[in-house]
């Protein structure tokens, strides 16, 4: 909704987090976002509200307060089984019009990215996706949204000065988990569904949960990548175990490894493969040919593990670990298990 004057903007208060649920359980990203929302709310002298749309909630809402929420709006109804974006967006719009939050943030997950853009159009709001930073402009009180663009080559700062609420999505694991304070409490508001919310546009036929979810290169926060130094398929099995130990990590490869048939082309990073811009890139036994470097230069932190300290990759890396991969990686896996 357009809000150009101070008077209009004052009508909107509080920072909302739309909870991400899976099989009735609240996902970690929700708590990460509550942490961010808490910081924003403190700067704005307002509250953090968490909106829970669930079917057979199996979680303890008190935990939301522990992580920083002041209010929880809960709608628990079997209609929320599966993911019906049209219905959820209609309900969120209704709640937004009723309670007028200043800011709404949501996890940039497959559901969040389907839902929030629809809501943003319905409420005529500005939405910034995949933010890596959220802060408050001290002069105006507007939300400043930072996100990478152009393949990570620039950082853009975005504002929705004249529209409320201000909306943003944030990917899981981008924000730090806050420290819970189990002494905190809050208020619970129970809302209901109207018959008109159920539009019969979409019908869920079946839902399938994967026990093993492979993280793909584009979405991963950490990429562990192998090159010729992995010496064969067994080397990549070791790297796969490494990625499984580190949550949210994807497996990458240099062209040499793919050409040798040790791993499929889907994992290839580089000029003739995929370009990635993750938080952390761990290059194992990759010499760093220019075609490979072009594909991962934008990563925030580059770690290289290699026997040879003089390769191009070891030179551009932020951290260069010199030693035998086949001894060091099992040690790392062991240590992480112990943590």
């Amino acid at each position: 909704m357009k809000a150009t004057t101070e008077f209009d903007k004052k009508k909107y208060r509080n920072i909302w987090v739309i909870a991400e649920l899976l099989s009735g359980k609240i996902q970690t990203v929700t708590y990460e976002l509550i942490g961010v929302a808490r910081n924003l709310a403190d700067l704005r002298n307002s509250e953090v509200w968490v909106i829970v749309l669930s079917s057979k909630l199996e979680d303890n809402l008190e935990l939301l307060f522990a992580y920083g929420a002041d209010v929880v709006i809960i709608l628990d109804n079997k209609e929320f089984f599966g993911f019906i974006d049209e219905m959820e967006s209609k309900i969120l719009k209704r709640l937004i019009v009723k309670y007028k939050p200043e800011t709404v943030i949501c996890g940039a997950t497959s559901r969040g990215r389907a839902l929030i853009p629809r809501v943003a159009v319905m409420t005529h709001s500005g939405l910034t996706a995949d933010c890596t930073g959220l802060s408050i402009d001290p002069k105006s009180g507007d939300l400043l949204q930072t996100r990478p663009a152009f393949g990570g080559n620039i950082m853009a700062i975005i504002r929705s000065s004249n529209y409320r609420p201000q909306m943003a999505t944030v990917r899981p694991r981008v924000m730090k988990m806050p420290e819970p304070n189990h002494a905190r409490t809050g208020r619970i508001i129970k809302e209901g569904i109207f018959n008109s919310d159920i539009k019969n546009i979409k019908k869920i036929i079946s839902v399938f949960h994967d026990t093993e979810t492979a993280v793909n290169l584009a979405d991963a926060q950490i990429i562990i990548s192998g090159g010729r130094g992995m010496q064969g398929k067994k080397g990549f099995d070791l790297l796969k175990r490494f990625t499984e130990k580190v949550g949210g990590a994807a497996l990458g490869a240099s062209r040499a490894a793919v050409d040798a048939g040790w791993i499929s082309y889907a994992h290839q990073v580089g000029q003739t493969g995929q370009t990635v811009q993750t938080k952390v890139y761990i290059a194992c036994g990759i010499s760093g040919q220019i075609q490979h470097l072009v594909g991962m230069q934008s990563c925030d932190l580059i770690i290289a593990i290699d026997q040879n300290p003089h390769t191009p990759m070891m030179q551009i890396a932020d951290i260069a670990v010199i030693g035998d991969l086949f001894e060091i990686i099992p040690e790392i896996i062991y240590d992480i298990t112990e943590l």
């Binding site: 082309y265 290839q268 000029q271 003739t272 995929q274 075609q291």
Partner: protein, 265 residues
């Protein structure tokens, strides 16, 4: 291929126009002119397949569209693993129909627009990635005896791996070998010649003065102490490798074409 080596017929590389060219019609004309010039000189025209992952047109498409003549010993196409299965089969069928015999089978360079063959597309189930070896086996089994298949050898990659791959390629049906561009004598290529005396080997001569482009193409830094003269290098290769054929890449059609014959004297 032995015929080409004995008669010192050059293999001349010609690139098809890129798909995003702003001058499609004139680029096609240039291609056709070069194609005709090469075969009219009795040389073998070698048409590349999306080099460096740049989306280009296929040699087979241009030959069909403009009805370019195909003399079986004088036309070679590159074929890499970055095709959708239906496109791959289409290219092979056009080769069959038009009488194109020589195919250089390579893994190739991908890009975001080039689909990669899946193992199932070439009748494999228990491998991770399709390389030139699997593509060779596929062509040999689907079109037995129809084509003369060649493979690439890169003396700049670690030797052990490269020879391991070559052994697999030969077992899969490779009938000739083309090396990456050589700058004079190359120890690794000498080893290759000793190891496979029965297989025709063609050495590549980089005909552009810009050596840094070669470094980019091969992926490793290749330098020379003095200025690089491609014609001199070509003469040197004739002397050093008389038992090999010669493949010319980045040949300057205006300035160099008429000079290459003289390098044989």
């Amino acid at each position: 291929m032995i015929h080409h080596i004995r008669n010192k017929n050059f293999l001349v590389e010609v690139l098809p126009p890129k798909q995003d060219t702003e001058n499609l019609e004139s680029d096609l004309e240039k291609f056709c002119t070069r194609y005709m010039k090469v075969i009219n000189s009795g040389y073998c025209v070698c048409i590349t397949d999306n080099t460096m992952g740049n989306l280009s047109f296929q040699g087979t498409e241009i030959i069909e569209e403009f009805q370019l003549p195909v003399l079986p010993k004088l036309v070679m196409i590159h074929l890499n693993t970055f095709h959708r299965k239906d496109d791959l089969d289409n290219i092979l069928n056009v080769c069959l129909r038009k009488g194109i015999k020589y195919i250089l089978v390579i893994t190739g360079d991908g890009s975001i627009r080039l689909p990669k063959l899946r193992p199932i597309d070439v009748n494999f189930t228990d491998i991770n990635s399709v390389t030139s070896v699997e593509l060779l086996k596929y062509i040999s089994s689907e079109y037995p005896g129809a084509f003369i298949l060649g493979v690439a050898f890169n003396p700049y990659e670690p030797e052990e791996h490269e020879f391991e791959k070559m052994e697999k390629k030969i077992k899969a049906g490779a009938a000739f070998i083309i090396t990456q561009p050589l700058l004079g004598r190359n120890k690794v290529v000498n080893k290759l010649l000793k190891k496979y005396p029965q297989i025709p080997v063609i050495v590549e001569a980089w005909m552009s003065k810009k050596l840094h482009l070669l470094s980019e193409a091969v992926g490793y830094e290749i330098t020379m102490n003095c200025e690089y003269d491609p014609i001199v290098n070509l003469k040197v290769l004739h002397n050093l490798y008389p038992e090999c054929g010669v493949y010319l890449s980045l040949l300057g059609f205006k300035n160099q074409f008429d000079l290459i014959k003289e390098t044989l004297v």
